[in-house]
């Protein structure tokens, strides 16, 4: 366990535990406490990272860049969701204060997962995160949300079993499970089988193609801010992070031919299924779910190359995807709250009534589709270059075509939902409350800035491969 970031996981845990005792009387204190803890964590991490990004001299940089970046993303998305949900349901305060403590616990679990250095700790914190998210999904108390939660519970269960099988096989080869011993002692056939079992487990957990059945239902059914939280960060940290870690272990051992072939196939499958699935969707959130399957596919494609550039691109795309998926889902939450429906047929010409929401989601959409100035473009380009350099040219070409498909279905959606003619039902729709827009606008600004100043971000990201 890397202990120099321990505070990032312990403080939210303590504040979560403190919430039931402090906020006996009013809910305001809970909200303030939750926001403050996350804000302070974000500022702390943000300061460290920006300090290096802006100054661009990495001489005194001793931390593990990958973990730091992940913690920054966790806190960013966490704060956005908490801030959003404090103002989301003000009228009939459905969220109990345990909602905020659950989010804080899941943030601390994610931070400690990112900091863990062996497989079994990884497993425990993954279980903690999924348990928290079971409960969080049901917080909108509707039929859909409970259905989503049950589906999430049962459909991602085989993941933990497979991971335990993987760990037990690992025990045959190594006394302890931490990454460095595995990485530097000989990697024989047994380790490869064990790691592949763990990879399959995490694939199920992160909703990649053949196991993607739970993703659309969960994101559509669950409580809107939570679906943003889930899509934004939980499935990433609880799923793909581990696969990137394993690829870091395996990436210069010769034994990865079969695993990389499998992962490439899985990545491509999920890119295509996501793209095609999203084309004909009626529901806004379900379409976003399919698009996140497709983007996760891209990350898997990048890791599957088992090359430094691949990992670099995967991490950058993971962070990007976290940002613009959070924006999109939070916007869908606003749309749902103001217009009462997320069915794309009924939503027309929203841009006139809800300009901020529309424009931020347009920025996020363009970044997802990989339009040049924005950050999504850089990560997509890097993925395709990584694929090309690692020799599997066909996958690179198909990835390129699929990104055109992504642009296609986003354009269709955009024209229909935001820029069409204002449908008569929406005439009295008002713009979302300003507080709901703050997180979305800040994240869009981050998207634009990281897109434009990519060269600075590049130097920071380079530290990950070092």
């Amino acid at each position: 366990m890397v202990t120099d970031f321990l505070s990032y996981s312990l403080i939210p845990l303590c504040s979560a535990l403190a919430i039931p005792f402090i906020s006996r009387k009013s809910r305001r204190i809970t909200e303030i406490l939750a926001n403050v803890t996350l804000l302070s964590g974000l500022i702390n991490v943000g300061y460290i990272i920006l300090h290096y990004i802006i100054k661009m001299d990495y001489s005194s940089f001793t931390f593990d860049a990958f973990t730091l970046l992940m913690i920054f993303t966790i806190y960013l998305v966490g704060l956005a969701v908490v801030f959003f949900s404090t103002y989301y349901e003000v009228e009939n305060d459905t969220n109990s204060n345990s909602y905020y403590s659950l989010i804080l616990i899941s943030v601390s679990a994610m931070c400690s997962l990112v900091m863990s250095r062996d497989f079994f700790t990884l497993y425990i914190f993954m279980e903690a995160i999924s348990v928290c998210s079971f409960a969080l999904i049901t917080s909108s108390n509707s039929k859909n949300s409970i259905e989503a939660s049950i589906k999430y519970f049962f459909l991602t269960f085989p993941a933990s079993v497979l991971i335990i099988f993987g760990i037990s096989i690992l025990m045959l080869n190594y006394g302890s499970f931490d990454f460095d011993t595995i990485k530097f002692t000989n990697i024989n056939f047994l380790t490869v089988i064990a790691l592949s079992m763990i990879i399959i487990g995490f694939l199920i957990k992160s909703g990649i193609a053949p196991f993607h059945f739970w993703t659309p239902d969960v994101y559509q059914g669950s409580y809107s801010p939570i679906s943003a939280y889930l899509a934004g960060i939980v499935t990433k940290i609880g799923g793909i992070y581990a696969i990137i870690k394993i690829s870091q272990i395996l990436y210069n051992s010769g034994a990865t031919y079969k695993i990389s072939a499998l992962l490439l196939f899985t990545g491509m499958l999920s890119v295509l299924i996501g793209a095609f699935g999203a084309m004909v969707q009626k529901d806004f959130k379900r379409m976003l779910a399919y698009s996140s399957i497709s983007q996760m596919g891209y990350i898997i494609l990048a890791t599957a190359t088992f090359s430094p550039l691949g990992i670099f691109a995967a991490v950058f795309h993971l962070v990007n995807h976290a940002t613009f998926k959070t924006v999109l889902f939070l916007n869908s939450a606003c749309v749902e709250k103001n217009t009462g429906t997320t069915n794309m047929e009924e939503l027309k010409g929203l841009e006139k009534k809800m300009p901020y929401t529309s424009w931020t989601s347009v920025i996020a959409l363009l970044s997802t589709a990989g339009v040049p100035p924005l950050s999504g473009f850089w990560s997509k380009v890097l993925i395709i270059i990584a694929l090309w350099q690692s020799g599997n040219k066909y996958y690179a070409v198909i990835a390129l075509i699929a990104s055109i498909l992504t642009l296609a279905y986003f354009m269709i959606m955009q024209k229909k939902v935001f820029f069409g003619k204002l449908s008569e039902k929406l005439t009295e729709v008002k713009e979302a409350k300003f507080q709901l827009l703050i997180p979305v606008i800040t994240i869009s600004i981050i998207i634009i800035l990281s897109g434009i100043f990519f060269n600075r971000v590049y130097f920071y990201l380079e530290k990950i491969i070092m």
Partner: protein, 627 residues
């Protein structure tokens, strides 16, 4: 001489720029001013005519006049070089512009009359430019501008839809031949890597490999402009649909001058053409004479008959140039200017008659001699000139051409030319008899003489026919022999002068045959205008005449059919690709995406089953012993 040379040199610009500037200015003048436009254009063409005379006189004394304007950096320069031939042509072009600007006063056109004058002056500029320019590229520039002006001229000269179609036909034929000419010029530039005709003429090009290709292309350009056999079909149509002023100006005068000038340049000045090409040229000339005159003979429309004669007379000039000996060439050049004068005069008489009687159909005309005496007299003089009756200019130039053909040895062309002149005379007898003599129909009783603005140019041209006829040595010594020297041929012996040799007797025989044929026809049909029927409805000729009338031999119609089927084929191909690229991918994508979303039936057990199956499949794949 130098400073004289310098101010003479910018004198060159007058026939060129003055009409251009004044043409543009003319557009600004509003229509309401009475006669201002006519006076201005008359003055401008007069000044440019005077300038051309001064240039001619100067060039006759000294060798030639050079004038260079750098253009587009040193990429190409517009360089004018007026030698005797160019000066002669410039003189001719300016003369006819002057006469036509006078004649145009009483001609009604579509739209305001100032467009007619604007076009006239621009054509004068273009013709002058192409005549005096030494650099092939600048010549091409002026030559091509003629095409556009031609199109607009035909377009405004008639009201009917057919007029628009003719305009398009004219434009296409001339346009395509100009493109051929452009290719030829480019090839010449490639071969002799200079575009200056004077430089090329130092070492004349020979007809071999790319040389022949270039020559043929240039020949096409020249023949189309001159209106020779394969490309002549637009002239008769133009005659039907456009007014007489246009016919008198361009098809009759300017085109002939320019076409034959360029033919002379390429076949005598730039190239050293061999005997096979000579035969080809002379045969084209002969065919043009015969075909056109046969067609002319049967026409019943005043202007259409004249237009076919214009085409046939070109045959004489081509024949003359084709003989390649000084006498023939002199005959060709002299015939060029003569033809221009009497053909233009004939078209003016046609215009006058049409103006007064509002009809062109000779069957409805008759007995106009007493009512329109001056027009009738001019018609008779011009008709005599064209059919080569003794003292007039036509006879002398045809005599030279005949002498040239005999000297060149191919006497068959001589006989063809003779038959041509017989038919020419017969058709003019028919025309003259049916229009001016015989019984005047009652509705034409009160036709008065044509207005003076029409009469003066007619009289002037008739006078030129007579002067060039009796005083033939004047034009020959002043215009033709100097330009022969410019082309590098020396005329041995006396070109002009009246000598009673068998050629003169032959022309008398021609007259007798033509008159008897006319009387025979008249007796047979009883009507003057039907005097050509005995030939028209002869067994074999009848079918060919009908086919020719319907345009089967017309090159333009043939190409049009071919192209229309070709374009419909292209359209089908385009529709196919459009479907392939647009419709099919979209339908496939929608089909696949529909299938993917159907896969999610929402039932938990199906999902669970899939997950277990795929997990085990992955494990089996990964777990295989040989990793």
């Amino acid at each position: 001489m130098n400073e004289l040379n310098s101010n003479i040199s910018n004198l060159v610009l007058i026939p060129l720029l003055l009409p251009l500037i004044s043409g543009v200015l003319l557009l600004l003048i509003s229509d309401k001013t009475k006669y201002l436009k006519e006076v201005l254009s008359f003055a401008v063409t007069g000044v440019s005519f005077a300038a051309s005379i001064v240039i001619l006189k100067f060039v006759l004394q000294s060798d030639n006049l050079q004038y260079h304007i750098k253009w587009l950096g040193n990429l190409s320069s517009i360089s004018f070089r007026i030698d005797q031939l160019s000066a002669f042509l410039l003189f001719g072009v300016s003369m006819f512009s002057l006469l036509l600007s006078l004649y145009g006063i009483s001609v009604k056109n579509r739209g305001s009359s100032k467009i007619f004058y604007f076009l006239l002056m621009l054509t004068q500029t273009a013709a002058a430019g192409s005549v005096i320019s030494d650099n092939l590229i600048s010549m091409l520039f002026f030559w091509e501008s003629m095409v556009v002006l031609l199109y607009v001229f035909v377009y405004i000269s008639g009201e009917t839809q057919a007029c628009k179609k003719t305009a398009l036909k004219t434009f296409l034929i001339n346009g395509i031949s100009d493109i051929a000419m452009m290719l030829g010029i480019i090839i010449i530039g490639y071969i002799s890597d200079t575009f200056l005709m004077s430089k090329i003429s130092q070492n004349k090009l020979i007809l071999s490999g790319w040389g022949t290709v270039a020559y043929v292309l240039l020949l096409i350009g020249a023949l189309t402009k001159a209106g020779a056999f394969p490309f002549h079909t637009w002239i008769p149509d133009a005659a039907l649909n456009s007014n007489a002023a246009f016919m008198a100006y361009i098809p009759a005068a300017i085109d002939k001058l320019l076409g034959i000038y360029f033919l002379a340049r390429i076949s005598l000045y730039i190239y050293q053409i061999n005997s096979t090409m000579q035969i080809i040229l002379m045969s084209i000339g002969a065919i043009t004479i015969l075909v056109a005159v046969m067609m002319a003979f049967i026409q019943n429309d005043y202007k259409r008959l004249l237009s076919y004669h214009a085409v046939s007379q070109t045959g004489y000039m081509i024949l003359g140039i084709g003989t390649l000996n000084p006498v023939g060439i002199a005959g060709g050049l002299f015939h060029m200017i003569n033809h221009a004068s009497y053909k233009s005069c004939l078209f003016m008489t046609a215009g006058a008659v049409e103006n007064q009687t509002q009809t062109n159909d000779i069957s409805k005309l008759g007995g106009l001699f007493s009512r329109m005496p001056i027009t009738a007299v001019c018609f008779i003089i011009a008709a005599a000139a064209i059919s080569g009756i003794a003292p007039l200019n036509g006879f002398f130039s045809k005599e030279l051409v005949y002498k040239g053909t005999i000297m060149s040895g191919y006497t068959i062309f001589f006989y063809a030319a003779e038959i041509g002149s017989i038919l020419t005379l017969a058709s003019f007898l028919k025309l003259g008899h049916s229009v001016f003599f015989g019984k005047t129909p009652e509705n034409l009783k009160d036709t008065k003489e044509a207005p003076y603005s029409m009469l003066i140019p007619m009289i002037a041209l008739a006078a030129i026919c007579v002067i060039f006829g009796f005083g033939a040595h004047l034009p020959i010594s002043k215009l033709i022999s100097p330009s022969l020297m410019a082309l590098g041929f020396v005329a041995d012996g006396e070109l002009s002068g009246f000598h009673f040799d068998n050629l003169f007797l032959l022309s008398l025989v021609v007259i007798i045959i033509a008159v008897s044929n006319h009387i025979l026809g008249f007796r047979l049909s009883g009507k003057a205008y039907k005097s050509s029927d005995h030939i028209h409805y002869a067994p074999v000729l009848h079918q060919t005449y009908d086919m020719a009338e319907k345009g089967y031999f017309d090159l333009y119609e043939i190409f049009r059919k071919i192209f229309s089927s070709f374009s419909s084929l292209l359209f089908k191909i385009d529709r196919f690709f459009d479907k392939l690229i647009d419709d099919i991918p979209v339908s496939i994508t929608l089909y696949v995406s529909d299938k993917v979303s159907k896969l999610h039936s929402g039932s938990y057990s199906l999902y669970m089953f899939f997950i277990f199956v795929f997990a085990t499949a992955y494990l089996i794949y990964l777990g295989g012993i040989k990793w």
